[in-house]
């Protein structure tokens, strides 16, 4: 075990996979000479050279399309899209290209690429640099979508994503890069599609993704002060979704809160809520509580931004409603 920053854990994963497999290469804006605007790719150019760690023009549509076809012709690209807010530019390549070919071409190709990006609010980055657009990609059959909340999972999931034969969208969070945690030494891989119980509890289940896992843990602390035992489940993988872990937890607690940082309307929480309804209805003692960002553009000013994002306080209140 070593204690690492989330950004450094990602950097270790990239380094280890590039050392292990010389077909792995990285490209994206500002990732090479500068090492990435969040420094995730720091020092990799020195070790692997400018061709395997490539600075690119600002051309997200073409870069994503290139990742798709480079992946079907013998290499394993890892593309960094600087902000999740730029994901709309990647969508033709993801939705009309990457997601279809393995099936439509009857298994003639596979596309082992990873698209890394980071989203989320709370950093005063404004309406075009703060969004969580997880559902844009989680909606698409043929894409896998993961969102680690800890340094250990950041490393283990990124290594697994790079080795996966299918496209994986890897969602990071700008406010997690500087968080620290224990990362197992040696070969550390996390299976894609498996949730993790971040905190055991018996009265209410809180299902969360990415930074919201930490908000949920904060809520669990607040609830514990009142003698309420909250279980926090970190979904880690948005698609495939670990339905069994969800059902298992609801069977135990009979109450559920779902929280994702994307907008609430047609958001990821809607999928979670429907999954619980379909697969654990008989175990529910209260309606599912669903939290997301308020359905409006994310404002810049600090007190305004704080109002629209889900947080520990809102999760605590939702858990209390579920327990009424």
């Amino acid at each position: 075990m070593t204690r690492q920053r989330y950004a450094d854990a990602l950097n270790s994963a990239l380094r280890e996979e590039m050392q292990r497999d010389e077909t792995v290469w990285l490209f994206g804006e500002d990732i090479s000479t500068y090492g990435g605007v969040f420094k995730v790719t720091r020092d990799l150019r020195e070790e692997f050279g400018e061709h395997r760690v490539r600075d690119t023009p600002i051309s997200e549509q073409t870069l994503t399309a290139m990742a798709v076809t480079a992946a079907m012709t013998g290499t394993r690209p890892v593309l960094e899209i600087m902000y999740a807010d730029f994901m709309p530019l990647t969508l033709d390549a993801l939705i009309n290209q990457a997601s279809i070919y393995e099936y439509i071409w009857a298994g003639q190709v596979q596309m082992p690429f990873v698209l890394r990006t980071q989203g989320g609010g709370g950093a005063g980055a404004g309406a075009q640099h703060s969004k969580s657009l997880d559902v844009l990609v989680a909606h698409i059959p043929g894409l896998k979508v993961v969102a680690p909340s800890t340094p250990a999972d950041a490393k283990g999931l990124l290594k697994a994503a790079i080795r996966d034969p299918h496209p994986v969208i890897f969602l990071e969070h700008k406010l997690l890069y500087n968080t620290r945690g224990e990362v197992p030494g040696g070969e550390h891989l996390c299976e894609i599609g498996k949730a993790r119980v971040a905190r055991e509890g018996s009265d209410v289940s809180i299902f969360a993704t990415s930074k919201m896992v930490h908000e949920a843990l904060g809520a669990a602390d607040q609830l514990a002060d009142d003698g309420i035992s909250a279980e926090v489940v970190d979904l880690r993988s948005l698609r495939p979704l670990d339905n069994q872990a969800i059902v298992r937890s609801v069977e135990k607690t009979n109450r559920a809160v779902v929280v994702n940082e994307g907008w609430r309307f047609c958001g990821y929480g809607a999928e979670l809520s429907a999954t619980i309804m379909e697969q654990a209805f008989d175990h529910l003692d209260a309606p599912v509580e669903r939290l997301g960002t308020v359905d409006m553009p994310i404002p810049y000013s600090e007190p305004l931004e704080a109002e629209v994002l889900p947080n520990a306080g809102k999760i605590t209140a939702a858990a209390r409603r579920a327990l009424r």
């Binding site: 390549a93 059959p141 979704l241």
Partner: protein, 324 residues
């Protein structure tokens, strides 16, 4: 002149053009009889571009194509019967009927593949060329696209990146004067789109796209240059679309006098006349009859082939749905 096709090579180009033309005509007939499904995009009159530009490639070279790709498929070496079977959704088609006529792919022949998002085949080829460069292989990638696709943002992004990184890709612009119903004059302020090559710092050439010999010569030089690691080229082959956008096109916007002039400039007739310098007409006529019979036989066989079953597809599909 350098890179002039041999008599055997030109005869093979001629033979393939006849196969393609007969496929297109048969598709037109079957559409009138109500025996086709979905829109079909014929390339009558444009065959010299697709067949001529792919004639010097090896199966290891990659080609990406458009929604109007029949000449590209046959040019790249795909079998008429399996191509027609795909057009009719049969199990024996290149993609087991999952793709349809716009998305045909055959990895064995480097056809990856048809693409019905206009312009998307351009960055697709650039991504393949990036893979080729990283793997230090001597393949090349080629995209064949139209004057409509040349107006997309990804065309600009892809050409810029390809020239910047000296990627082994050939941009073959099959200029048929129309993007669906809108004439090229209403889509660009310049007539010769090859002039744009200078802006990217790569060679650009305008050629007579109905002259199979000129297409072969010019593309061969560009392919050699790319294999030497000297980067991409843009070749604008001027041709004309004789049969409307698709089988659903009601026409009325292509002037008859213009079409009549192009009718006199048929690429198959021109190749035939060229070949008469070295081969007697009796032999050429026999080649034509045999090629037409091959195309017709492809329909007889393909239309007798079985349809796929859905269960088979579900079992072999890539899967990123729920774990449980």
């Amino acid at each position: 002149m350098k890179n002039t096709p041999s008599v055997e090579e030109l005869l093979e180009i001629y033979r393939k053009m006849v196969v393609v033309r007969r496929i297109e005509e048969k598709l037109g007939d079957l559409h009138k009889e109500g025996k086709t499904r979905g829109p079909l995009h014929r390339c009558d009159g444009q065959e010299a571009v697709g067949v001529g530009a792919t004639a010097m490639l090896t199966p290891a070279d990659y080609v990406t194509s458009t929604h109007r790709g029949h000449a590209h498929y046959i040019g790249k070496g795909l079998d008429a019967r399996r191509t027609v079977a795909e057009i009719f959704g049969r199990e024996t088609g290149y993609c087991k009927g999952r793709a349809g006529h716009m998305l045909v792919a055959d990895r064995e022949h480097g056809m990856l593949g048809g693409n019905a998002i206009v312009g998307a085949c351009i960055p697709a080829a650039v991504g393949m060329a990036q893979s080729i460069q990283l793997l230090k292989s001597d393949r090349i990638a080629m995209c064949i696209f139209g004057d409509g696709a040349a107006q997309t943002g990804i065309c600009h992004e892809a050409m810029n990146i390809a020239a910047l990184w000296k990627l082994p890709v050939i941009f073959v612009l099959e200029h048929n004067e129309y993007g669906l119903t809108v004439h090229a004059d209403a889509q660009s302020s310049i007539t010769d789109l090859s002039n744009r090559a200078a802006g990217y710092g790569m060679p650009g050439e305008k050629i007579d796209g109905n002259d199979a010999v000129a297409v072969y010569q010019t593309v061969s030089s560009a392919v050699e240059r790319a294999r030497r690691g000297e980067g991409p080229s843009l070749i604008e082959a001027k041709t004309y679309r004789m049969t409307g956008f698709s089988t659903s096109d009601m026409g009325g916007y292509q002037p008859e006098y213009v079409m009549a002039a192009w009718q006199q400039n048929d690429p198959i007739d021109r190749a035939y006349n060229e070949l008469t310098q070295n081969i007697d007409r009796e032999t050429l006529d026999r080649v034509r009859v045999e090629a037409e019979a091959e195309a017709e036989g492809a329909f007889d066989q393909a239309l007798a082939d079985p349809f796929p079953s859905f269960e088979h597809h579900a079992a072999s599909a890539p899967y990123s749905g729920p774990v449980s």
